[in-house]
């Protein structure tokens, strides 16, 4: 089995295997903190930092890992970087850290990070693991930001606290409530799946190939 190119490894996380919109993992923070764009961006940045660091460290240690102790080592590494991210947010972005509440420490159990450790970092070199971490992290941030923009816009008329919709628009309070998260996530996943599956059916070439077969 040949490894994909580094570029492909990068775009993999952004689109082809986007953790939230395609793999459907990491749903807990996705549903909980996307009620505003600022929350979504902060959460995305914190998770990306943890993902990159844990991917690189696990990759460097991959030859020393005992199969039955590997999960323990993963958790140890992830928990350390999450604690660093949590302290940094409390020290330098205090209001943001208050708004995110328990969801920053909960990055420890975000299964995107564990999944990438198991699927990529424990089998690949540090450069590939780094690229994978960046791609997956940005893919996660991208998905959270889309949800954040839709929910904040319809629920509070604003994007990043900057008013976009006119006063005449009555905010849909449901959008910033948990049910709004489920509705938006469902619709966005539906749209992404439609975009991804539509392509082969549209291309003439595929149809010709099928006909020939």
């Amino acid at each position: 089995m040949s490894e994909p190119s580094l570029g492909k490894q990068f775009t993999n996380g952004l689109w082809a295997e986007n953790p939230v919109l395609v793999m459907l993992i990491g749903m807990c923070p996705t549903l909980a903190i996307t009620n505003s764009v600022a929350n979504a961006l902060t959460m995305g940045a914190a998770t990306t930092f943890v993902l990159i660091c844990s991917n690189v460290v696990i990759s460097l240690l991959r030859k020393q890992l005992q199969p039955h102790l590997r999960m323990l080592v993963y958790m140890l590494i992830i928990a350390t970087f999450v604690t660093i991210a949590d302290y940094a947010l409390q020290a330098y972005l205090f209001e943001m850290s208050q708004a995110l509440g328990p969801y920053v420490p909960l990055i420890i159990v975000n299964c995107i990070i564990l999944a990438r450790a198991e699927i990529c970092a424990s089998k690949s070199g540090p450069v590939r693991s780094f690229v994978d971490g960046v791609g997956m992290g940005l893919g996660f941030t991208f998905a959270l930001t889309i949800l954040g923009v839709i929910r904040e816009l319809l629920g509070m008329r604003t994007v990043l606290s900057y008013q976009v919709l006119p006063e005449a628009f009555v905010p849909w309070v449901i959008m910033i409530l948990p049910s709004g998260a489920f509705l938006t996530l469902g619709l966005v996943i539906g749209l992404v799946t439609w975009l991804k599956t539509r392509k082969p059916a549209d291309s003439r070439q595929n149809k010709d190939l099928e006909a020939a077969a």
Partner: protein, 195 residues
């Protein structure tokens, strides 16, 4: 024993390295985090006592008050509020109490120097439902608590009939109730212990 050490050495070494690393991170950030919390309480206390926000036009924190801890039992924190530029005049008292609404709830109650009036109520920390219980943060609602302390306040649904009644937020009775009982708790403890 030997084979066990051979298996777990990585876990032991990593734990040691990470513990040391985290100790450094903690040392580097602890002071700033404590300052952030202190500033937050100070800003809320200024708002509750003087009714003036602590954030200036340039976004920098500018305080007109100082906090001096006073001893009140069974509350999170209690302070005597004095002017920032000096002087020992008591501008009021700020009491921080903790309770449960839908989740952990921390509020600050500002009291007049003679403890006869509530000058303001501020939310320090809350995770009430966005759009519903979160409205306990609305200034218009919290202004209802600026009342004399002679009697405990009573939460009512609909219109308040007497000066000691507070109107509950529609759709957020539990959160309104939590704030009201916390305000009563803070006032009662301050009245009993500061005199």
């Amino acid at each position: 024993m030997g084979s066990m050490l051979k298996q777990i050495w990585l876990v032991l070494v990593l734990s040691l390295i990470f513990a040391v690393a985290l100790a450094f991170v903690d040392q580097g950030t602890a002071q700033r985090i404590a300052e952030n919390r202190q500033q937050q309480v100070q800003a809320l206390a200024q708002m509750a006592i003087l009714g003036e926000p602590a954030v200036g036009a340039d976004g920098q924190m500018q305080f007109k008050i100082k906090l001096e801890p006073v001893a009140i039992q069974d509350v999170q924190a209690a302070f005597r509020v004095t002017p920032a530029e000096g002087g020992d005049e008591t501008l009021g008292y700020a009491v921080v109490v903790e309770g449960i609404g839908w989740d952990r709830l921390l509020i600050l109650v500002g009291l007049s120097p003679d403890l006869q009036r509530i000058t303001g109520v501020q939310i320090v920390e809350s995770r009430e439902t966005p759009g519903l219980g979160e409205r306990i943060g609305d200034e218009a609602w919290r202004d209802q608590f600026r009342k004399p302390t002679a009697q405990p306040l009573e939460l009512v649904k609909g219109r308040a009939q007497s000066p000691y009644q507070v109107e509950a937020l529609t759709g957020a009775t539990i959160s309104s109730d939590a704030v009201t009982s916390l305000v009563n708790e803070a006032t009662a403890k301050a009245l009993a212990q500061l005199k």
